[in-house]
């Protein structure tokens, strides 16, 4: 039993036309402090899997536990979830956005302001707490979203392609930042992505998901020398391209299988 344990998860979407198997037989566990990526083509059910881990969606079968506790209807459990876009509330100031989780959990007190300012400092955005989201750029807004996610001190971070809507430079900068923040705060994290490079650069382990229905196709261990490097430097390391080629071939063979 790991820190996060997903056992025999099976999910089927029902509509009046059909029942579609989205996930089948998903089984894995993640250790505390580990960073894993779920890699797969779009529509393979990886976002569904993340929603299930977050407890936002009840799987048709199977269970998910974090630190020994079930995730469904568990109000004690705090989970950090980052979406493809920042989804900062445009009518709230940056500070109010960062402390949103604390407000919802009714933990807002004199300290929350300090937490917010400290976190904004950590993500490299000092002196913006009185501004409104529309005054910031896309990359800055996603940093604020990261601060908002960390403000509630979540047990685990779930990242649903949080860099996909950013321009390339912001994406690389933010990857480094997220990676560093998670190490500093020693958080466990699950990243969902379709970007092989991003998966290698950021994670310790990579799960490759096949599509229709989503199954765990293969697991890749990222070599130690890459794990130690920050994402940006990983990309220029020699073993990076070796692993990239390996995963690329697997993805291709998967696609090939599907078209047959």
């Amino acid at each position: 039993m790991g820190f996060l344990s997903v056992s025999n998860v099976h999910h089927t979407y029902f509509s009046s036309e059909a029942a579609t198997d989205a996930l089948q037989d998903i089984h894995f566990s993640v250790e505390k402090g580990e960073f894993v990526s779920i890699l797969g083509a779009s529509g393979c059910g990886k976002s569904t899997l993340l929603s299930i881990i977050a407890g936002l969606l009840t799987p048709t079968m199977g269970t998910v536990t974090i630190d020994g506790q079930p995730v469904i209807d568990n109000e004690q459990l705090s989970i950090g979830y980052m979406l493809q876009q920042d989804y900062l509330f445009p009518w709230k100031t940056i500070e109010e956005n960062v402390t949103l989780g604390l407000t919802i959990l009714q933990k807002k007190d004199e300290q929350s302001r300090e937490i917010a300012i400290q976190l904004l400092q950590d993500v490299g955005l000092p002196h913006v707490e009185k501004k409104f989201p529309r005054e910031l750029s896309g990359g800055m807004r996603q940093r604020v979203a990261l601060a908002r996610t960390l403000a509630v001190d979540p047990k685990i971070l779930l990242l649903d392609e949080p860099f996909s809507a950013l321009d390339y430079k912001s994406k690389l900068t933010l990857e480094d930042l997220v990676s560093k923040m998670l190490k500093d705060y020693s958080k466990t994290a699950v990243l969902v992505t379709h970007d092989i490079g991003e998966a290698i650069a950021m994670s310790d382990r990579i799960f490759l998901l096949s599509a229709k229905p989503g199954k765990l196709y293969k697991t890749f261990e990222v070599p130690q020398e890459l794990i130690e490097l920050p994402p940006f430097e990983t990309r220029s390391h020699a073993s990076y391209s070796t692993l990239f080629q390996l995963i690329w071939k697997e993805l291709e063979s998967l696609e090939h299988e599907n078209t047959l």
Partner: protein
């Protein structure tokens, strides 16, 4: 240096354009009133029906001096503002209930369509019998005329709020009430304001029709009374006052809009 001059010129051209617009707006008003006066005096139009600005003005002064106009205008204004506020608030509350319970909203959907399509002023006689021929019926009239359409429009806005905002709140284990308070309601403020704008017009209709029916006081009463004794000076004067008040109310709503929606 030259950009500075260009910028100054640009600013000047902006001011000039504004002045031009104001000038023509004023011109239309002056031409309209003068034409009306001239047409009436030279009998191009029947002065008995269409009155004339001068006659309306002297009647206005007379009615101000004997105090009756203030009383009537006051009554109507009070009823309209109250009907307007009650209608919009009730609409928002109903929309919130519909949002709260998707099942309930599916059940009542056809009834909302029927209620919306029905001409609400036709309920007037029933309201007066039930609530008595007084202010209550008139205010109710001003409210029901706008409540169903407000409900429908605001409920639609509630449903169109990006579900990802709710997802963010859900990850913090937010309750449904918290989701409403933190995301649904503030995200829908622009729509609520635009229904307010529509409701300004609607509640005037409701209240004036109410006063037609109750016929005891108010600008609606003055209109119907003027019609009965064939005093069209009175009818047109009341109409003018309604136009002015309705415009002021609309402007106030716009002011509120600028205050509330400024952060977007």
């Amino acid at each position: 240096m030259s950009t500075k001059i260009l910028y100054e010129n640009y600013k000047k051209s902006l001011i000039n354009e504004k002045r031009k617009i104001r000038f023509f707006q004023l011109l239309i008003l002056v031409v309209f009133i003068s034409l009306w006066e001239i047409a009436s005096r030279s009998k191009w139009i029947d002065p008995l029906i269409f009155s004339s600005p001068q006659k309306i003005w002297s009647l206005f002064i007379e009615k101000i001096q004997d105090g009756t106009l203030i009383m009537h205008a006051n009554a109507t204004l009070f009823e309209t503002v109250l009907g307007f506020i009650i209608g919009t608030m009730l609409g928002t509350i109903l929309a919130a209930i519909l949002w709260w319970s998707p099942f309930f909203s599916k059940v009542v959907d056809p009834y909302l369509v029927v209620l919306n399509a029905m001409p609400k002023v036709a309920l007037g006689p029933i309201l007066i019998v039930v609530m008595g021929p007084g202010m209550t019926s008139i205010i109710t009239m001003g409210a029901i005329i706008s409540v169903i359409i407000s409900t429908i429009v605001i409920y639609t806005a509630f449903r169109e709020v990006d579900p990802n905002y709710l997802k963010v709140l859900q990850t913090f284990n937010a309750t449904r009430f918290q989701m409403f308070k933190e995301a649904i309601l503030p995200a829908s403020f622009p729509t609520i304001i635009s229904t307010l704008k529509v409701n300004v017009g609607l509640s005037w209709v409701g209240v004036i029709v109410g006063e037609f029916l109750v016929s005891s006081k108010g600008l609606g009463y003055l209109i119907i009374y003027g019609f009965q004794v064939f005093n069209f000076n009175l009818v047109l004067m009341s109409l003018m006052i309604i136009a002015i008040f309705a415009t002021i109310m609309y402007q106030l709503v716009e002011l509120l809009e600028r205050k509330l929606v400024k952060t977007r």
